[in-house]
Subunit: 236 residues, 2 copies
DNA sequence: TTGCGGAAAATGTGATCACAAATTAGAGGC
DNA sequence: GCCTCTAATTTGTGATCACATTTTCCGCAA
């Protein structure tokens, strides 16, 4: 016998605990699902049900519906013809295209950050990179996913971009769940730590160097982890 | 006294006319709003209200809510901190970034279409291009917007892309409303018709030529039309 | 004429409901 | 045991409701 919280009769119960600002529930759900996707807590093929997610997050199905539409528009979730929603599975052609798109956009975004952004804190990036090494040591996949995302987007967000950045965010939402499934299946030790090369380029103010480092990081990271097998079912 | 159609009491009225397949209403609304944005029927700064759109399209606010979230995720619509929704206004930096992103993605997408797509009908593209010339002659801006979109995406869709194509679609949704507002303010006659160059490259199977033609078309089209003025208010 | 209040209307948000379609479970027959 | 048909459950969809917030509108005073 838990709290038995039916969460509202028909009349609004006027802030059961807190809901603070406008669209608060939606923002909460959005952040929760995005985080889950980016850290690999949602596996490709996983069915996402409206009421399931709603109950899990303690909200009504309404904000969940809007968030699902939002993420489906970014192709982070897939709406099947039956209306069922699931995390998209990876395919070889999709993977190749994601790699191509990342190589086109992310080095450019990093270069923009270096040119326009004065708030690129190399010391902080170094700290994050150390934590990444630690997470690789302990084998904490979820922490690695989160930290790697953090490292890249600390740089990208410094670009103050409003067009390219959202495109790249969409890409990460699409490949992150798959990357998580192949983590551990292959060696995670890179030949060269391109993150450290990137930091060096940032310190030196070399846009070309940063471009190259990011491109190599993307190519090598996806080259090593990807391509192992795409028929990763992992149902439920 | 009109028809007095409250659109349902509390019980479902079981298909007042047609709703056919699953998510039919949502698909209808989505297509309607997308089309309106791409052809410039929605002006930057225009307020988009939930109940307004719903009544305009003859549906309940529900599918409209989902579509708005969907388009907001693609940055085709903008949700203000008050919750109000409007078509985003263009700014100089946004414009520059859109141009950069288009130049990065669209020539690549066109090249992919040429390499992988066997269904690139040059004759059909030529027909569309003729209609474009006609629309420029009569000054039908809405027709021009629709036809130009059609020309580009006939090519892009032949790539069978599932990653790059949605990114480009998002870009078009973002700049199309603005482009419409500056139509007619400047001369629409290009120095060179890059569409015809593109068709020639397609016929010759020249990926490099197609890349160059698309890049020139983008650069020149946005160079001419854009940059005129960004403080285009056009309220209501 | 120009501000300034305050009432009235409009708007987004979260919740619940009703229903159809689809999935799942189960019973019965081969 | 395996397949099949049916019943029960689950799920997405469209609609409506209640409410807080915001905006709009109108009258009144300076």
């Amino acid at each position: 016998m838990e709290t038995d919280k039916p969460a509202g009769k028909a009349t609004r119960e006027t802030s059961p605990a807190i809901l603070l600002k406008r669209g608060g529930m939606r923002a909460h759900v959005d952040q929760a699902v995005r985080s889950a996707l980016l850290t690999g807590r949602f596996i490709p093929g996983k069915a996402v049900t409206l009421r399931g997610l709603a109950q899990e997050l303690g909200v009504s199905p309404m904000p969940v519906r809007e968030v699902i539409q939002r993420l489906a528009a970014e192709h982070a979730l897939e709406v099947l013809p039956n209306g069922r929603v699931q995390v998209p599975r990876m395919t070889a052609s999709r993977f190749d295209e994601v790699l191509k798109a990342r190589l086109l956009l992310e080095p450019e975004l990093a270069a923009m950050a270096l040119e326009t952004g004065a708030r690129l804190d190399a010391r902080q990036l170094e700290k994050i990179d150390l934590e990444i090494d630690a997470s690789l040591g302990t084998g904490d996949a979820e922490a690695y996913m989160a930290l790697n995302h953090d490292f890249h987007f600390r740089i990208y967000e410094a670009s103050r971009s409003t067009i390219l950045l959202p495109l790249v965010e969409s890409l990460w939402l699409q490949f992150a769940p798959f990357m998580r499934t192949v983590y551990g299946r292959v060696g995670t030790a890179h030949l060269v730590d391109w993150h450290k090369e990137a930091i060096k380029a940032i310190r030196g103010g070399s846009a070309a160097g940063l471009r190259a480092a990011m491109a190599s990081d993307i190519r090598e990271g996806m080259g090593l982890l990807g391509r192992s097998s795409f028929a990763v079912v992992e149902d439920e």
